[in-house]
Symmetry: C2
Subunit: 339 residues, 2 copies
């Protein structure tokens, strides 16, 4: 049984109110009393019971990060930066993993009611939330990262930090088309489900095909998990088509790496036989051999910006919607199509 404020008060020979005052640096306390209290705190190894504090306080300091796909390596950098930025500000961080079968806003609402949160961060999610879903969260500040809400939802209901997924995907695929590729595969998670990131990036892919006067062939679209094995098997299928592909745009580096392995293990060469572009910019894409071209998302900046916005909101600021620039990093995994 850990020590309570009463134990400290007794040991210091003061009242619990005084102990509380010392610890919260509220009100005037004599130097002598402070010394006694701090001594007692130390000797008891006293740590305030957060449950009691938050029950009592009107304002909690809990921040919850809801992550859809916590094992996605791309999110590792976010996790690191967010954890650091939050704890730098002296707030505790609660990390909640959101399952494929769950709704991130529903998860958030449960956590919100369970522990009075002062802020919510979302990392990864779906675009299918309606205004009332957000309103149910009340006034608690919230920032969405790597996704946002449909245009129909009032922008005052949330903040967001994203990249222009559709536009940058279009640029990436245009690059492949410019190199002469005509059979370009697209790999993403749930590309045919509206309101997903995968669908958004496929729209960019379709835009670029249209720009280049290429037909959209649904059999070149592969529904993948964000894992190498999934990219691997999709690529194997893409290579054995009657009219095989000469290039791939993968909506995640994890998928791109699996696809690259499929190419290389068939004895084919990158980029001579197949060109590959990934998405995200995880370490492993750069250290792959050959290094993989990718759509570089500024993960650190996104995470940092999101936390900044969250604290501005906590301090009464207004909602913001940031679109950060993503960049097509050329590293040598794309080349001209063979004639």
């Amino acid at each position: 049984m850990p020590a309570s404020i009463k134990d400290v008060a007794q040991k210091a020979g003061v009242s619990t109110a005084t102990v509380s005052r010392v610890l919260n640096q509220a009100g005037k306390v004599s130097a002598e009393t402070r010394r006694k209290v701090l001594g007692a705190v130390a000797s008891c190894h006293y740590v305030p019971n957060a449950n009691a504090q938050q029950l009592k306080r009107s304002t909690s300091r809990n921040i919850c990060l809801c992550v859809r796909g916590i094992t996605n390596p791309f999110f590792a950098a976010f996790l690191r930066v967010i954890e650091r930025q939050i704890s730098l500000r002296g707030y505790p961080l609660l990390i909640e993993a959101v399952d494929d079968s769950q709704d991130e806003l529903a998860v958030a609402q449960r956590v919100l009611n369970e522990r009075r949160l002062c802020g919510l961060l979302f990392l990864g999610g779906t675009y299918l939330h309606q205004a009332e879903d957000f309103m149910r969260l009340g006034e608690v500040p919230r920032v969405l990262m790597t996704f946002n809400a449909p245009a129909s939802v009032d922008r005052e209901l949330y903040s967001s930090v994203i990249v222009a997924d559709r536009d940058i995907s279009r640029q990436a695929v245009r690059h492949l088309a410019d190199l002469g590729h005509r059979r370009i595969a697209f790999m993403a998670k749930s590309p045919f489900e509206e309101n997903t990131t995968g669908h958004l990036r496929m729209s960019g892919y379709q835009d670029a095909l249209k720009d280049a006067g290429l037909p959209f062939d649904p059999s070149l679209v592969f529904d993948c998990e964000y894992r190498p094995d999934s990219g691997f098997s999709s690529m194997k299928a893409a290579l054995t088509l009657a009219d095989p592909v000469s290039a791939v745009f993968a909506a995640a580096d994890t998928i791109a790496i699996g696809a690259a392995k499929a190419v290389l293990s068939q004895g084919l060469s990158i980029p001579r036989d197949v060109s590959i572009i990934g998405f995200d910019g995880i370490d492993m894409a750069e250290y792959y051999h050959p290094s993989l071209d990718t759509v570089l998302q500024p993960a650190e900046t996104m995470a940092k910006r999101a936390v900044e916005i969250l604290f501005e909101l906590i301090n009464g600021g207004a909602n913001q919607h940031i679109v950060l620039p993503a960049e097509l990093a050329r590293r040598g995994s794309t080349g001209p199509a063979l004639l």
Copy 2:
């Protein structure tokens, strides 16, 4: 302001005690009353305030996972399995990232006092904790994964799930020596700091050198972070030594991948010019080209076993220390030394 139990009681026309009884299925409640209460709960979107519950309850259901190195890709599988196994049992999981500068047991103790925990899991950590550090955690069940405590610490003070780091490292390096390699680099985090995993694996490396009659050359030991860039620069250095290495044993696949990239980007070949063995068994090692030999840790099994042990402990079981078999996965990144 979310609804409280009082609001529910009022709406249902009963007392708060009755509401509590219905929700906790404790004591007898008439079907009619139950119906009314549940209706009121639903219409208020009532969720019990966890702070109040845990303040009042003698026994909390909170489990905390303390992770040293949360961005380590090897831990992703652990995170996924643990999250799932815990929530399957209806317990909430608190994830706490432990910084390089922090002590995991100190972090655990703070969290323990803040929120009454019923169990602690540790993923990644240092071997330098003393008995009193564990005793300070009181009776709360705890399970260490991928590390444990020095032999001097009473085994009744904790449970652990590990692989035989030293022994399997010895086998890996023996494999390289058997292939005729005489200049074998070793890369790990903090290899020269006692009580670290890196040091333990270096001991296995040294054992194997001794077995093979090879000298231990400290200039072949590289202190790395668990990141590809770190393996990359270490390997560059290793290749430019007066008497360069022909093989590497890296204590993490992330390091091995960086090392492999350094080899390949110099125009050298794996395994013809340099042999590489990694450690962990992350996806990316398998999907690298060439696929990298590695010491395969059974991450899913380790995580599952750890959670099982934790719940056995919660239900009054005794501490256990599991050493699971690790396996040297041969995939083609090692070959005979050139003459």
